[in-house]
């Protein structure tokens, strides 16, 4: 800097900005280093999985003209002049994908895990059990002990039934001790089992309509009705969903997805997309974004027609429909990932049913109840520190835990879905707890005080004020944790998940393989067709699932952070 006038007391070295610039550039390069190298590696994997260079040049040109150029033009337009539309485009393209993934998950559940009739029986019995408990509470509100008994007995009667007849002595001894004089000589089956044994049953799609479509449509209707403060809109959503789902009776077979496929599609893909699109149109904000998925679909259709007409052959990709629906095989061309995918889906079900409630419950306790003083306060501090430490325990140690606890001690079958789900579930438990704690902590205290001021108890406040407010945050954290769970491999190796299976697991106690386990098996194959083809296809499948999950989590986070 020029210091012509006055006295300059500093030393004579010049102030340079070269050093600063170089430093900034170095730091930027360091930030980009990991990203760029992984991106390049991903491009290599994608090349191996899709083999784009095996396609005719004409094929590339055709799709570039019909699909890529219009989409790129739209992206530039959104970026330049219509940002809300860009977000609408993002969500309307992503929502069907998430919906399709969920649909696929449920199709897997219904083909592999339980029949529609079993599902129907399960839902009806659960509803009856809940109804019994609620009805008792209404009829005899001042009998807490009786209520506890009902709450315990109702699920037994409707869902579980009594244990097999050889355990009847247990019940008889118990009643003998109590002097009740009731004897049990046969196994009493539950309502659920009774329903599955009915000689007549409604057709599958009617049962799905009653037990899957209606509840979800009701949830959607409740959501819309609450958001718009209009009961009529909510009822319209329910009615429309039901009609569209029922329409599957005609449309399903025509489209070749079957009636049940259509019903699932309508609920998991049609319902959310419909609600979102309708909202965009009504609010008139970023309507141009709806063009993006439309152009994409039209582009694909036009492209495939043109390619057929011109006789160009597409790429001979490893990752195709056949890969997704066929089982593992010794010949690379036949190898697929379907059974491993089913294993992953079922593992996720186990985790959602066990880890999610336990983690959120722990977070609620730590944030809402935990005392900060006294012996309990010490215990709570210990729990907090412990959770932090558990998050740093290597995943392979959780595998040992699963092996020792569930296979050695509980004697559950080695490599079964339930063991895998519980081991990986324990692994992500600290992550779920920490993220749920953050979500609960971000609910302002004034909300709680307002609720207490209205005379609500602590639990009522939590259930009706804190949890609904914290739900988006909890969901985001949980989905991210589930993403971690899907990709976790080391615990699966330790609990002995199958290297590869030909048949998808049909129950939670079946031995199964999961996607990362299957991918690991392929990585030890030496044949180039495996190492560069099937393996790459598996990696891309796994990453695509993770991408969709993380994308969903981020969209939920962005939407609700802005509102908050």
């Amino acid at each position: 800097m020029a210091t012509e006038q006055g006295n300059w007391y500093g030393d004579d070295s010049k102030v340079e900005n070269l050093r600063g610039r170089a430093f900034e550039a170095t730091c930027l390069a360091a930030t980009a280093f990991g990203l760029v190298s992984v991106l390049i590696l991903l491009l290599y994997v994608a090349r191996d999985a899709f083999r784009p260079f095996s396609a005719d040049v004409g094929w590339h040109v055709t799709y570039a003209v019909t699909l890529l150029v219009p989409l790129a033009a739209l992206v530039v337009y959104y970026y330049r002049s219509d940002e809300p539309a860009g977000e609408v485009a993002y969500v309307t393209s992503g929502l069907p994908i998430v919906g399709l993934l969920l649909t696929g998950g449920f199709v897997v559940v219904f083909t592999e895990l339980l029949t529609v009739l079993e599902w129907f029986a399960l839902v009806v019995s659960a509803a009856v059990a809940l109804g019994l408990i609620v009805a008792h509470g209404r009829l005899r509100p001042k009998a807490p002990l009786e209520r506890l008994l009902v709450a315990l007995a109702a699920p037994v009667v409707t869902l579980l039934g009594t244990p097999p007849a050889q355990f009847n002595w247990l019940f008889n001894d118990l009643t003998g001790v109590l002097g009740l004089g009731v004897e049990l000589n046969h196994q009493v089956i539950s309502l659920r089992q009774a329903i599955t044994m009915l000689p007549f049953a409604p057709t599958d799609w009617v049962m799905l309509l009653l037990t899957l479509v209606l509840p979800l449509a009701a949830a959607g209707g409740w959501f819309v009705g609450k958001r718009r403060e209009s009961r009529r809109d909510g009822i319209a959503v329910v009615a429309l969903t039901t009609v569209v789902a029922a329409f599957g009776l005609v449309a399903g077979p025509l489209l070749g997805v079957g009636v049940e496929g259509w019903v699932l599609l309508a609920t998991f893909t049609g319902l959310p997309v419909g609600i979102y699109v309708e909202g965009v149109v009504r609010r008139d904000e970023g309507r141009a974004g709806l063009a993006f998925p439309a152009v994409a679909v039209l582009g694909v259709l036009a492209g495939s027609v043109a390619v057929d007409a011109l006789g160009f052959s597409g790429p001979d990709a490893w990752l195709d429909w056949g890969f997704l629906v066929s089982a593992a095989s010794r010949t690379p061309a036949d190898a697929g990932i379907y059974p491993a995918m089913v294993g992953s889906v079922m593992m996720i079900i186990v985790i959602v049913l066990t880890t999610f409630p336990a983690g959120v419950g722990a977070a609620i306790y730590l944030e809402e109840y935990a005392p900060s003083k006294g012996p309990m306060g010490k215990l709570v501090t210990l729990i907090e520190i412990n959770i932090g430490n558990l998050a740093g325990v290597p995943s392979v140690v959780y595998g040992l835990l699963g092996l020792g606890l569930f296979i050695r001690i509980m004697a559950w079958p080695q490599g079964s879905v339930i063991v895998a789900g519980l081991a990986v579930g324990l692994l992500i438990l600290p992550i779920v707890i920490i993220s749920a704690q953050e979500a609960i902590r971000s609910v302002p205290d004034s909300f709680r005080q307002a609720s207490y001021g209205m005379g609500a108890t602590r639990w009522q406040t939590i259930r009706q004020v804190v949890l609904p407010e914290a739900l988006p945050g909890i969901l985001t954290g949980t989905i991210l944790a589930l993403g971690r769970a899907i990709g976790e491999t080391a615990p699966l190796l330790m609990i002995g998940a199958a290297a590869s299976v030909r048949l998808a697991p049909n129950s939670f106690f079946d031995v199964a393989s999961m996607m990362p386990r299957q991918i690991f098996t392929w990585s030890s194959e030496l044949e180039p067709a495996f190492r560069h083809g099937v393996l790459a296809a598996g990696v891309i499948t796994l990453l695509a699932v993770l991408l969709v999950m993380n994308g969903t989590a981020i969209v939920i986070r962005n939407r609700y952070q802005r509102q908050g």
């Binding site: 280093f33 995943s395 005379g455």
Partner: protein, 310 residues
């Protein structure tokens, strides 16, 4: 509470309610206590199962035997520790400077727009499954290193370490960035007021002020590298050996089997002796203790040396 007054009944079920409140409280406490139960069962399980190992092999033999070969009944920790050491050191050399530089960029230099792109990008790096990183190392990085002319074997520590390093960058960068963002702006402005350049403020004020956070992120990252399993199982080979001091470079070209990989191999082996199988728990216990101590140290450093600002 009494409900005999003639007013509207706003508190139904007065006796049941308190009991229910208590019940929910205890159920939730049970959920929170589950985490303690997990830790306890990990410790009990590892200790219980490795007792038979330590009684028959002996702690001294385990710690100082220079061989690890289950088929010959050699259970030395040193070869496995060598593998873990190489992987951890090389990945640290890659990840620690890179991570801190990234944190400096994100916290001090990046525009809002760059931040909104780079930060989720780094989060994505942390979200990629480790089995995928392992495949990157084995199928793509190792051939690349060979093509560049390095004399690496099919299984080598270098490519595995590179991938472990890239995997732990986000951990260093996000924790360090949190520490740097916590440095109050008044300190920076004081620096500028003294005539310092941005470079001088960053390296002379912000980084020293955030040093404890940066250091604790280093330790956490090291602990992650030590416990990393799939990358080394896939790419670092299955041969346990001691560090090669005669030809140091061989340490990078050859495959080494770190502790985690040894556990996976023992567990997956077709036939393994009883004592061999229990060595898996002993290694697991060692691994657990090491990572646990590192995590504890990281927390302590972050808590004790944190500079408190108003």
């Amino acid at each position: 509470m009494s409900t005999e007054t003639s007013g509207p009944e706003i508190t139904s079920r007065p006796s049941g309610r308190a009991a229910r409140e208590r019940m929910y409280r205890y159920i939730l406490l049970l959920c929170a206590a589950l985490s303690i139960l997990v830790t306890v069962s990990i410790v009990v399980l590892l200790v219980w199962n490795s007792i038979s190992f330590f009684t028959s092999v002996g702690l001294v033999d385990y710690l100082f035997n220079p061989e690890f070969l289950i088929s010959r009944g050699e259970f030395g920790l040193l070869p496995l520790l060598s593998g873990t050491l190489i992987i951890t050191v090389v990945s640290a050399v890659i990840a620690l400077p890179t991570g801190v530089a990234a944190a400096i960029y994100l916290s001090e230099y990046a525009s809002e727009r760059m931040r909104s792109i780079l930060k989720p990008g780094l989060e994505i790096l942390a979200g990629i499954p480790t089995v995928v990183y392992g495949i990157f190392a084995l199928v793509y990085v190792t051939p690349l290193l060979q093509a560049v002319g390095l004399p690496v074997n099919t299984f080598n520590t270098l490519s595995a370490s590179i991938m472990v390093g890239i995997m732990i960058i986000p951990m260093v960068s996000s924790l360090s960035e949190d520490a740097m963002s916590a440095v109050p702006d008044s300190l920076r402005q004081a620096g500028y007021g003294m005539g310092a350049t941005k470079f001088e403020v960053t390296t002379g004020v912000v980084v020293p002020a955030a040093a404890s956070g940066i250091f604790s992120s280093f330790i956490l990252a090291l602990s992650r590298a030590i416990g990393e399993t799939m990358i080394v199982v896939i790419a670092a080979g299955s041969r346990a050996r001691l560090l090669n001091f005669a030809e140091p470079l061989q340490n990078f070209w050859q495959g080494y089997q770190p502790m985690t990989a040894a556990m996976v191999q023992i567990n997956g082996a077709e036939s393994v002796s009883q004592i061999g199988f229990s060595s898996m728990y002993a290694i697991g216990l060692t691994l657990f203790v090491v990572t646990f101590l590192l995590n504890l140290a990281s927390n302590r450093i972050a808590a004790r040396y944190r500079e408190e600002y108003e």
